[in-house]
């Protein structure tokens, strides 16, 4: 996850977790792990009393980043465009 992005838009309470993109709640089939993460997220509704409350959840992913990316077949159109026209990159940083 990218908590900096989510925090920047002003959500009242934010739980960061060091899990790979695409799997915010955990691994497929890991009901127990998903339930723990969701429980921790919901606990923030009680403990987060001030605006911009941010906590990092104490869970780690059981794979290296390379292992977590293995087999990924993700080709966003914007990445393909920027590969062809890299001079457009500043436009991306400016918000399109």
């Amino acid at each position: 996850m990218i908590p900096e992005f989510t925090r920047a838009v002003g959500v009242p309470r934010l739980a960061g977790i060091a899990y790979p993109m695409s799997r915010p709640m955990g691994r497929p089939g890991d009901a127990r792990g998903q339930r723990e993460v969701l429980r921790a997220l919901l606990d923030l509704l009680i403990s987060g009393r001030a605006p911009d409350t941010y906590v990092e959840l104490p869970y780690s992913w059981p794979e290296t980043p390379a292992q977590a990316r293995k087999g990924a077949d993700v080709h966003p159109p914007i990445a393909q465009l920027l590969a062809r026209k890299p001079w457009l990159l500043p436009k991306l940083y400016a918000g399109g």
Binding site: S22, R35, L38, L45, I78, L81
Partner: protein
């Protein structure tokens, strides 16, 4: 919180571009034509929907995992389990999905998010958890 979590109706929002297969897909074709654009609309996902009922249309994430187990991105079953042990009051009947690639978030901010909020309020939702994918 105006009341204890154990009495709250809780809704979930995923940014994974989930849509039921009997609903309108998120617009991938327009994004292919204009890669600066991302579909800013939302879909409702009834409680009880499973991975076999949906497609994930977000082209910037690895959709294999949510397609294998929807709870990876929209944990409705886990929410129901937490309701059954009293952590929350009950899961909402309806949950929500947006597509998180939004370089130009004006429509999302001014139309989609308020519409979701109005719908949640009308359906008696007390608290919502956003799950960014």
């Amino acid at each position: 919180m105006a009341k204890p979590l154990s009495e709250c109706t809780v809704a979930l929002i995923t940014t994974a571009g989930v849509a039921r297969t009997d609903d309108v897909p998120f617009d991938q074709e327009r994004e292919r034509q204009d890669p600066w654009w991302g579909d800013p609309t939302y879909r409702t996902i009834p409680l009880g929907t499973t991975e076999s009922d949906v497609m994930l249309y977000h082209m910037h994430i690895d959709t294999r995992f949510g397609q294998e187990d929807l709870d990876v991105v929209l944990p409705m079953r886990r929410l129901s389990e937490l309701a059954s042990v009293g952590v929350i009051g009950r899961p909402a009947d309806t949950h929500y999905s947006i597509m998180g690639y939004q370089l130009r978030p004006q429509v999302l901010e001014t139309e989609t998010a308020p519409a979701i909020a109005r719908e949640m309020k009308a359906r008696g939702v007390d608290a919502a958890a956003l799950v960014p994918a």
